[in-house]
Amino acid sequence: MYNLTDEQIDFINTDITKRGIETEDVRDNILDHVCCIIENELTVDGDFKTFYVNTIARFYTKELREIEEETHDLITFKYYYAMKRTMKITAGLTSALIIAGGFFKFQHWPGAAVLLFSGILLFSLVFLPLNIVMKYRDDKAKENRLLMILGFILVITGSIGVLFKVMHFPYANILFYGSFLAFFIFFIPAYFFTKIRVPENKFNVIIQTTFMIAGCGMLFTLFNLKGSKNIEDSVYSMDHFQQINSQHLEAANASFYAENGNSNSDKVHLMTTELSDLINAIYVNLISHSNGEAKGEITHITRADLKDPNDSKVVQNHFENAKDELSYDYLKTKVAAYNSFIQAQDKSLLLVDLNQLQMTNTIISVVLHQLLDIQVLILFNEQNYLRSKRP
């Protein structure tokens, strides 16, 4: 039996470290194993160096670090089967949730949002990341791994963008359009030119690339699709109609007031003007916030100037949940004061019943139209009052 000296053990330890065994646990095992072999198989007068070199060569096919890499692989992917099972389950679950969510939404049944939300969340945060890990393990080529990670990340950010859009969270557009553009500009060309180089993949790559380009093209067409121009114009015409009515009423009231003004009509006129001015202020405030323009920059206030007629966020933040003098709450108190005032003046005047209008949980263009309706109603009241008091 050969006796190893401390220097020889140090030598072996340094050598296997140099050969790429960096994990202490693996190194301890290999060191002890080599030492055992030498002690048991080398004769007392044998040559240590030659025997060591021959022995260590038995441990690997190309390089010693294979052992460390293999160990790392086995440990890193210890959850491989659990992941595979989770992936299968989430695949089924996301498909079911998204299909059910879509169907519920189509039927206007309750629970559609919850189904869609959880479906997309599961898809983008569990299913797709798991896919990255699994594919990463399966494909050893570096450029394929990079390509695949890029593709999956873009799909993840894209689907989170869709989720944000549905839930009206911030940055939805940046996420979605950004991912979409990056997918189109970077991923598809990179995919095509990387994969086309392998002759046996050529046909499949051409088909897959065509699918992706066609898909992106159709999606892009959908983005730019707006509602019919005719319908849009007819909707704008409602607002225009009410605006003209309110201007005419205002002008008529002014002339009635100039002719027959007295102390009582003073009060009615003041009350009406006050509420009408508040409505105008809210109107301008909502448009300026929605368009992201300063109030002073808004020269004429028509709904046609809105950049996003479907903006619901501005209603939430600057009307519904606001606490200032342009908020829904403030409008309600002012309308209540107006109602009790005109009720005291003349029982035949019409009350503004805000309960009949749904001004919250809606989009800006609806709120703007409702404001105009209220304005026309109070001007109409004023005119009725002035007419009835005409001598």
């Binding site: 330890n13 646990d25 095992n29 060191l31 072999i37 294979e66 160990t71 086995l74």
Partner: protein, 126 residues
């Protein structure tokens, strides 16, 4: 079923692929029979038991041992021998269960293979 029986069935092929698929089972079963063992001891034991027919390579053994340890099938006891550290592996309770599952699976697999390859009828092929 002990290691001798298992090895009897695979005494034909010695390709590294075949051994790779059964290595975990071999290691777990050896540790069940012998309590604590270290790497070199395991390779020698297998060599002895199989009369040199199965030689476990270090390149396959250590990744497997580390993976089993990571999974919780084995515990490690470190013994310092001069400047070296010797790691003794021992089965945990979970490791015991894994061993039973693995051995049963392999036994069943071998039964199927015998049937599939017609080994009982035509032993001459072996």
């Amino acid at each position: 079923m002990d290691i001798h029986n298992i090895l009897m069935y695979i005494c034909v092929m010695y390709s590294s692929e075949l051994i790779k698929g059964t290595l975990k089972t071999i290691v777990l079963n050896l540790l069940k029979d012998h309590g604590k063992m270290y790497g070199y001891e395991i390779t020698q034991k297998v060599k002895d038991l199989t009369k040199d027919k199965i030689q476990i390579t270090e390149g396959a053994l250590y990744p497997t041992l580390h993976a089993l340890e990571e999974h919780g099938d084995l515990t490690v006891e470190k013994v310092y021998i001069g400047k070296r550290v010797r790691k003794y592996y021992r089965l945990t309770d979970q490791g015991m269960e894994t061993r039973t599952e693995r051995v049963n699976e392999l036994a069943d697999f071998m039964k199927t293979m015998r049937f599939l390859l017609d080994l009982d009828v035509a032993k001459g092929h072996v």
